[in-house]
């Protein structure tokens, strides 16, 4: 049984493009200070950043929770928003419903969720149309992904 070392929760606001990414950089600082392996940090922060951008671009509000144990980092991003009608489509690289405004921000090219999955050891996504989406990711501390 793994032991929980640290747990933090952050509120994310939809359409707040200016602040998008602040939570991920804060998580990076926390993990760096704890001396976590730099490759693990990079994977965790890519997952958090992509998830943060998804909330900012598509949802009204969301919560990012990350839990560090002596074995792994668990990340859950739950949002209140439009939901995803077809998750298989959303996980296909290059598939996107982004607006021009989102693309001008440098996001929305159909790589967000695939990036989250690519950088996770375990990945899950559940979505209810009109309600919201929850993405969970687990990254092992001794992983080499």
């Amino acid at each position: 049984m793994s032991e929980e070392l640290l747990s933090r929760s952050f509120t994310l606001h939809g359409r707040d493009f200016d602040k998008a990414g602040e939570t991920s950089t804060e998580i990076k600082s926390i993990l760096k200070e704890l001396g976590i392996d730099s490759q693990v940090i990079r994977r965790v922060v890519v997952v958090c950043f992509e998830a943060e951008m998804n909330v900012v671009m598509y949802a009204d509000e969301g919560t990012l929770t990350f839990v560090l144990t002596d074995d792994d980092v668990g990340i859950e991003i739950a949002d209140r928003g439009p939901g995803i009608p077809d998750i298989d489509d959303a996980l296909t690289e290059g598939w996107s419903t982004a607006t021009d405004e989102m693309r001008e921000m440098g996001f929305g090219f159909g790589m967000g969720l695939p990036n989250i999955r690519r950088h996770s050891d375990d990945f899950d996504i559940r979505s209810d149309v009109g309600v919201g989406t929850t993405v969970t990711s687990r990254i092992k501390l001794d992983g080499h992904g």
Binding site: E22, S38, V45, M105, G106, F107, M111
Partner: protein, 113 residues
């Protein structure tokens, strides 16, 4: 190849403090931030035409060594300030993305993917 040599090849202006000796071994070039985040190689340089705040946050998350903004695009002071506090050197070149990639490839640098 170090950052100083790259600045010479791309005729760059350095707009935030940088250790010119930083070693660069690979290049990731895109205006799509998720493309930059998708794959990783240590000691990578990021080339982009996107000059907003997210370009710097992406550079931090992707662990790149420096950003080169192409086509002479000028980031705002807010973006430069974030790059400075994040310890990311920022350079600007008037060259386009294609020419930058071609010149760096010719000098022996490879893409991150």
């Amino acid at each position: 190849m170090n950052l100083d040599e790259i600045a010479g090849i791309l005729d760059c202006e350095m707009i935030s403090p940088a250790d010119r000796e930083i070693d660069i071994e690979a290049v990731v070039a895109s205006d799509g931030m998720s493309e930059i985040l998708a794959f990783h190689r240590p000691h990578a340089l990021m080339l982009t035409g996107l000059t907003n705040i997210q370009s710097v946050r992406t550079a931090v998350v992707a662990d790149v060594e420096a950003i080169v903004y192409v086509r002479g695009k000028q980031p705002t002071q807010k973006v430069i300030d974030l790059a400075r506090t994040s310890g990311i050197p920022v350079l600007i070149t008037t060259m386009g993305m294609f020419d930058c990639c071609g010149k760096l490839y010719k000098e022996g640098l490879e893409g991150v993917m």
